[in-house]
């Protein structure tokens, strides 16, 4: 059976293809269109998936959309009605936006792919999150928690999943918290207040939180109260996301926390305002963690299960995830590599296969590499045409060479095999660097990623030696498989891992098992043999504002534009030649080619 899952229209659209119950490929539209967070209908991703599997739309048994678009429209309309007449500004935009395209999903899919309408299915948004969290995890039964900004109406759900002895999988979501009460929207409101981009920069709030103290927990507590049944409710007077499209926080919110940050002002932690923003971030982070831990703890008590599968955009918050693992009572916490809306494409396809069609459960390969593969020949050709130094070496020599370059302080762009599905670079499209000196972090932030200097970088470490450098609790290595948890760096290593140790002594570590990415694992070992520390700084191969690269040429253009010294694709290595001064005019730069 061939099932195509599609997510689209809000943020991060994607497509995923399932053949006989096993994923064959999955890719976000942004990786192909090169437009960050591309939310358009993912026709490029769908075409790539079909091409990759060698099938046509006629071969598909079902196309599954990840949410019920009319139910979402129902929420938008109801919310506007409840806010009447304050919603008069946002209403026309919402109606044009929704009726213009978003509710006609069946027609859009049918016209793009030419599949009959009866083959087009729908799942609940949070059921898609739940499916990708549970059905990709290597567990028999588990509690399920999903949390995001909002799906159709639900913002958070709990339930359980089971793979029965007869091979049938069950997912049952038992209860939900409904819009406007939303942990995701609470966090996003602070993201906007702190001058960052909503639905994109929430991780900056998490990074900033480490610089602050949670001195405003009481104030954040006014925004969200716990309900007697263990859920939560927001205080609507502090928010405007439920009434207008213009701003997510209200004047009362500003009255409580002070003036918002202008997004063009750098955050200076030496100033009172900078510290206030950091304290805001720390406070909302603390409240988010407390609520999630409490909900997870209750879920553990109620189900008596040892494993928790956790999906939705909020599951990208690694600090909260680590606390859930440590304090909720669950022994293991499974967060998929794409817990957000992109992952819902895969979740919707899995849900249809296992739940709608009752096909027997199949193990899903436990890795994130479902996207297009890199072509090393493309890199070699481009490098040679541009008179760069190109080397093609066998694997052993290549790894030794790269380890040497890294040990010498060079920054390496690393492309290998199929690209990751999800927002994180997990070893196939990465920038790698020596993790030892804080100057390396500053250099990466300044010359390569062009981003705020408070942002931390993540380390990658082989599973065999992870415990030596990082204080991983039981279950921590699993959570760190897809870089989903933030854990302390052991104090004795913090100075020697300065580039990857955040200000609070933590790191969002990736614990790498050999089978998942054997070449990167071998590189870590080679680097360890040279330096005694088999740890590398691992960040996504892109610059700020751009999606992670997919093809070799995209990696190459990134390499040429920023301070990456060496670019590797498979067994091809390109080393940058000395370039003219960065701000020479194009005329001077072109003249220098001769």
């Amino acid at each position: 059976m061939k099932i195509l899952g599609v997510s689209a229209h809000y943020h991060d659209s994607a497509a995923a293809l399932l053949v006989d119950g096993v994923p064959v490929c999955a890719v976000q539209e942004e990786r192909l269109s090169r437009r960050k967070n591309d939310a358009s209908f993912p026709i490029g991703a769908i075409e790539w998936c079909l091409d990759h599997a060698g099938i046509t739309p006629d071969d598909l048994d079902a196309v599954v959309f990840y949410e019920r678009s009319m139910l979402k429209f129902d929420r938008i309309l109801t919310t506007a009605l409840r806010a009447f007449p304050r919603s008069w500004r946002s209403f026309p935009q919402a109606i044009k936006n929704t009726l213009g395209e978003k509710v006609w999903v069946r027609g859009i899919i049918s016209s793009h792919l030419g599949v009959p309408r009866e083959k087009i299915l729908f799942t609940d948004h949070h059921a898609s999150h739940a499916a990708v969290a549970f059905l990709t995890a290597p567990v028999r039964r588990a509690a399920i928690l999903t949390a995001d900004g909002v799906g159709e109406w639900a913002t958070l759900t709990v339930g359980r999943g089971e793979r029965r002895a007869d091979g049938i999988a069950e997912i049952s979501l038992e209860r939900e918290v409904r819009f406007p009460h939303s942990l995701g929207m609470l966090y996003s409101t602070f993201t906007a207040y702190l001058g960052f981009a909503v639905n994109e920069d929430e991780y900056k709030v998490m990074g900033l939180a480490a610089y602050g103290r949670p001195t405003m927990v009481d104030k954040v507590g006014k925004l969200i109260r716990r309900t007697p049944d263990g859920a939560f409710a927001i205080a609507p007077e502090y928010f405007e996301y439920q009434t207008t499209a213009g701003r997510s926080y209200s004047s009362r919110f500003i009255g409580l926390f002070g003036p918002p940050r202008n997004r063009y002002d750098p955050i200076d932690l030496e100033t009172a305002d900078g510290q206030r923003f950091a304290d805001c971030a720390a406070s909302v982070q603390r409240v988010l963690e407390d609520v999630l831990v409490d909900i997870a703890r209750n879920l553990h008590r109620e189900t008596g299960l040892t494993d928790l599968c956790y999906g939705g955009g909020v599951a990208l918050n690694g600090v909260a995830n680590a606390r859930i693992l440590a304090e909720s009572g669950f022994e293991r916490l499974f967060v998929p590599p794409a817990p957000g809306d992109a992952g819902c494409a895969l979740g919707a396809a899995l849900y249809a296969d296992r739940i709608y069609f009752r096909n027997p459960d199949r193990d899903v390969p436990d890795h994130p590499f479902w996207g297009p593969a890199v072509d090393a020949g493309e890199l070699a050709k481009a490098g040679r045409e541009d008179n760069q130094a190109v080397d093609e070496l066998d694997q052993a020599a290549m790894l030794e060479r790269i380890a040497g370059e890294l040990a010498d302080g060079r920054i390496v762009g690393w492309m290998e095999g199929a690209c990751e599905f999800g927002p994180r670079a997990l070893g196939h499209r990465s920038i790698l660097a020596a993790p030892h000196a804080r100057e390396m972090r500053d250099r990466l932030n300044r010359d390569i990623k062009y981003r705020e200097d408070f942002r931390p970088f993540a380390p990658v470490v082989p599973a065999e030696t992870a415990g030596r450098f990082f204080d991983l609790p039981p279950g921590g290595a699993r959570l760190a498989r897809f870089m989903s948890g933030v854990f302390p760096v052991r104090p004795e290593w913090r100075d020697r891992l300065g580039a990857v140790t955040h200000v609070d002594g933590s790191a969002r570590v990736q614990v790498l098992e050999r089978e998942m990415a054997p070449r990167l694992h071998a590189l870590l070992e080679a680097y360890g043999r040279r330096t005694g520390i088999p740890v590398l700084l691992n960040t996504s191969l892109n610059v700020a504002g751009e999606p992670i690269v997919t093809r070799a040429l995209e990696g190459y253009s990134t390499f040429r534009r920023c301070g990456i010294d060496v670019l590797v694709a498979g067994n091809t290595l390109v080393k940058k030649r000395a370039a003219p001064p960065a701000r020479a005019s194009m005329q001077e730069r072109v003249a220098s080619w001769a």
Binding site: S33, L81, T157, D229, N262, G545, R551, V590
Partner: protein
């Protein structure tokens, strides 16, 4: 270099650049436009099969992204200088964006068409920036930015023409005329869409105030009866045979 239309529009430009708030907004909008344009050209560099064009596009994209940064930094500096009405516009809201003023499609476009488009766009920008440079005489820092960008735009204009003549020696003039025609057509479409949007908004707003009030009353009444906290999810939601086909 200044086109007759821009010459005629000079009072409008003066009106925009003469006001502090509008100047800040314009600079920040330019930052987005230049950055988006840079990304488009970057994409062209990644897609072209012509090695020389790839190198040139890459350098061009680096320039455009740099221009975006110059505008962004200047706009931010002005914002810090003085509180403006613009300040509230940038909190929690994306800036007006899009992929360049002349929304450019890169995928599947042949190089000659892209070069012609870039040549025409750079020439128009150079003409306009010449006027802007004169209008910000009171602001040396902004003027210096326009001077730097203007110098780059002239080079972009020249290299795109040279390359167009190289890859399309017999039809490059025709390509440029065609690009001009397309530009005019897109301008017309932009204006038409904007007018349609105004009419659409007016109609929906009218409906909002005329038709919605009774429904709003019912919706608010229903909202008051809703309890916060957990809501049970009925098991039947997924078990009904037609639920899989339902968008509700």
């Amino acid at each position: 270099m200044v086109s007759p239309i821009d010459g005629l529009l000079r009072p409008v430009h003066q009106w925009v650049w003469g006001d502090f708030d509008r100047r800040v907004r314009k600079l920040l909008a330019f930052a987005e436009v230049e950055t988006d344009g840079g990304r488009d050209i970057l994409r062209a560099a990644e897609l072209t099969q012509d090695p020389l064009l790839r190198r040139l596009y890459l350098e061009h994209a680096i320039d455009e992204l740099h221009h975006g940064n110059l505008f962004r930094e200047r706009g931010a500096a002005l914002l810090r200088l003085r509180a403006t009405r613009a300040r509230s516009l940038f909190n929690g809201n994306p800036l007006p964006g899009g992929h360049g003023l002349d929304d450019l499609r890169i995928e599947g476009e042949p190089d000659h068409r892209l070069l012609a488009f870039l040549h025409v766009a750079e020439k128009a920008a150079a003409g306009r920036f010449t006027i802007y440079r004169e209008l910000v005489d009171d602001d040396p820092a902004t003027r210096a930015i326009f001077e730097e960008i203007l110098r780059d735009e002239v080079f972009h204009m020249n290299y795109t023409y040279t390359q167009l003549a190289r890859i399309s020696p017999r039809s490059h003039r025709w390509q440029i005329w065609r690009a001009r025609g397309n530009r005019l057509w897109k301008r017309y479409l932009r204006v038409a869409v904007a007018i349609a949007a105004v009419f659409g908004t007016a109609m929906i707003s009218l409906l909002y105030f005329v038709v919605l009030p009774p429904f709003a009353w019912f919706a608010r009444r229903a909202a008051r009866r809703e309890t916060s906290g957990w809501s049970p999810i009925p098991a039947s939601r997924h078990q009904l045979p037609d639920s899989r086909h339902s968008q509700y």
